[in-house]
Symmetry: C2
Subunit: 149 residues, 2 copies
DNA sequence: TTCCACTCTGGATTCTACTCTGGATTCCGC
DNA sequence: GCGGAATCCAGAGTAGAATCCAGAGTGGAA
């Protein structure tokens, strides 16, 4: 079924977003995607804002956020009743996580980059490379110990 | 049980790494952590290199890598029999993923940052903010459609 | 030399996040 | 207006990752 006007069916949304149809319905069931309006026949009808939201969810999943995290993030957008302080708190907390993720990824990037380069330079990768990858962060780990369940 | 010399028990490793004891044994069972030497009584005895490896796994999980991905990454370090070309291929493939993740996280960082700032500036967060978060990437999504299962 | 926290094993269970099934309904090109 | 594709729904099933459990053994402090 083709998009009609600005609206499209779940199949089209699935294609555009790269998210499985079943998964979209699942997201609706658990409440992180809203129930969209329906056609006369009961088909879900989506618009661009839903596509963006869904893409956001998909990417966030790929970035290692749980559905719980994502629900929280989306919550600060959805629920206008949050106070500013609350919005800020959630935002800042998540920022913390995000920045740590960026740093870790950058480290990983460097290591892999070096590894590929050494290799193409004909060096046998003599690797305790990854072994020493997150070496500097022992401190961090210790701090995090409690938090970890 | 305290650390003895350079070695420590699984409980201590768990504390330092923030990874559950059960999970550590599970990682050993599935082969992404090596079987450590044992004490006379059969207790696992770990050293720093294992702590680093475990931290690496934990962080990678938080970054959205599957255990399969991680196994692959660690594989290029562990198995000296990989050819240079293979090492390079894995490294370059992962680099791609990693760079995309970094970019997405940076976008997210900007949005949340703005949100927190607006808020502290006394603005009511008038948000289709996240709604428009990954707006630019529709193209990407279309390209990715096929890949998505 | 006992006590209690810690660890062992192997198997069962749980949790999260989907994914599938199947029978009914709707849509739409021919 | 018919047939095949798309969608609906409820509920069951699955994969991956982790966590729990029971019963037995270990180790070190008092």
């Amino acid at each position: 079924m083709r998009p009609r006007g600005q609206e499209y069916t779940i199949g089209v949304l699935s294609q555009y977003s790269g998210v499985n149809i079943e998964t979209i319905r699942y997201y609706e069931k658990i409440g992180i995607m809203p129930s969209p309006p329906r056609s006369n026949g009961g088909y879900r009808l989506y618009r661009d804002s839903q596509l963006r939201r869904l893409s956001f969810i998909r990417r966030s999943r790929q970035l290692g956020f749980s559905l719980k995290d994502i629900r929280r993030l989306l919550g600060i957008v959805d629920d206008k009743s949050y106070t500013c302080a609350q919005v800020q708190q959630v935002a800042l907390e998540q920022l913390d996580t995000i920045r740590r993720k960026i740093i870790d990824l950058q480290k990983l990037e460097t290591v892999l980059n070096d590894m590929a380069a050494d290799c193409s330079g004909g060096l046998v990768p003599d690797c305790p490379v990854i072994d020493s990858l997150f070496e500097q962060n022992g401190d961090n780990d210790l701090i995090l110990t409690k938090e970890a369940k």
